[in-house]
Point group: none
Amino acid sequence: MPPAMNERDNDYLGSLRDYYAEARRIPSYQRICELMGFASKTAAKKLLDRLESAGFVERTPDDDAWMPTMRFFERPLADIAVRAGAPDMIEGTQGELLLIDQYLVRQPSRTVMVPVKGDSMIDAGIHDGDIVVVERAKAAQSGDFVVAIVDDEFTLKELALEKGKFVLKPHNPAYPVIRPQGQLEIYGVVTGLVRRYRG
Amino acid sequence: MPPAMNERDNDYLGSLRDYYAEARRIPSYQRICELMGFASKTAAKKLLDRLESAGFVERTPDDDAWMPTMRFFERPLADIAVRAGAPDMIEGTQGELLLIDQYLVRQPSRTVMVPVKGDSMIDAGIHDGDIVVVERAKAAQSGDFVVAIVDDEFTLKELALEKGKFVLKPHNPAYPVIRPQGQLEIYGVVTGLVRRYRG
DNA sequence: TGACATGGTGTACTCGTGGACACCATCCTA
DNA sequence: TAGGATGGTGTCCACGAGTACACCATGTCA
């Protein structure tokens, strides 16, 4: 992932970001020519090839088109770029309003957001009022955080193995381990979490 | 914007969302045929026309392609209160919806995402590797979590008052309170948090 | 100064894509 | 039970997209 990028390509990248913010796609070679002032589509292709090896774009899984990578949206903030240790930031501007969603949700059709009630997972940094991202029908492994259905209620716990049997382990010493009778009904696996501060 | 959508189109929409999560684009008519099992591209076009009038997709400004709308990214929000034996009702069209980015980001142009380094805020449920949502130029109050710049480095702490002066309080007994000399430089206020589990 | 890497031009070819049109099956309702 | 709205099929067409290739200008470095 060499960030080896010259000034010119950086400007091109900026134009691509602007276009993406409006159209949510990498423009066609022809559109790129218009945007950048190229006279030949080959220049556009070579540009994308360069951006690909720099890690800003990649081909879709079916190799049908270009798509942006996470890096496409990252940028250090200009006025502090000089400072040492400035981390890469993801600046959320208009068209990139979907970044968090894309970061968290892998299988939209199987994904449900579940609000967290109670503090039984407080030691795992999951608070009352947080919202967890749950992927249904995903094979749960020991160690995963899962949403299970116990006594007709949703409950969020860690799935753990105890003497060869699955149990639900809270992350709060005040709560007991749940040892289900018979079959344990898993609603889904927690794949992410969001929290909002200050109304 | 009539959400008037039948069950079938809802499934199609789900497939489109899954495809989009992988390829970051609306598939071509031909790909849609493969995904949905259509035999004719016209069916794909008509499907997108329907989804357009339902408000899930639209044309790009240059009319070159389809792009998803905000609605495309609404995720189902489980109603925890509904405990009784029908958790599958979430699958139904009805139920609450959540736009993750909209939930976390209120001022897109002033908001950046900053990855968390270290565990100085572990007792506040903010872990190494989490991503905090930071709103710049927001008036910070005592008690807010803030990203400050100390010794040319970014640091995430709670803003607190101590003897009438602002200090930066970690949420980890192993770290000391930071008492800045002179002016304290606040980069922004933490308004949200994002975490991902298990690659 | 000479050789090579790099970024851009121009041309030509092919296939995928979107779009139009006629037609068909099914469902719902009057 | 007739009729229309709806969702899907099959076919044809034109254009644009991506790609390959030969070539050129510029900058850089031994």
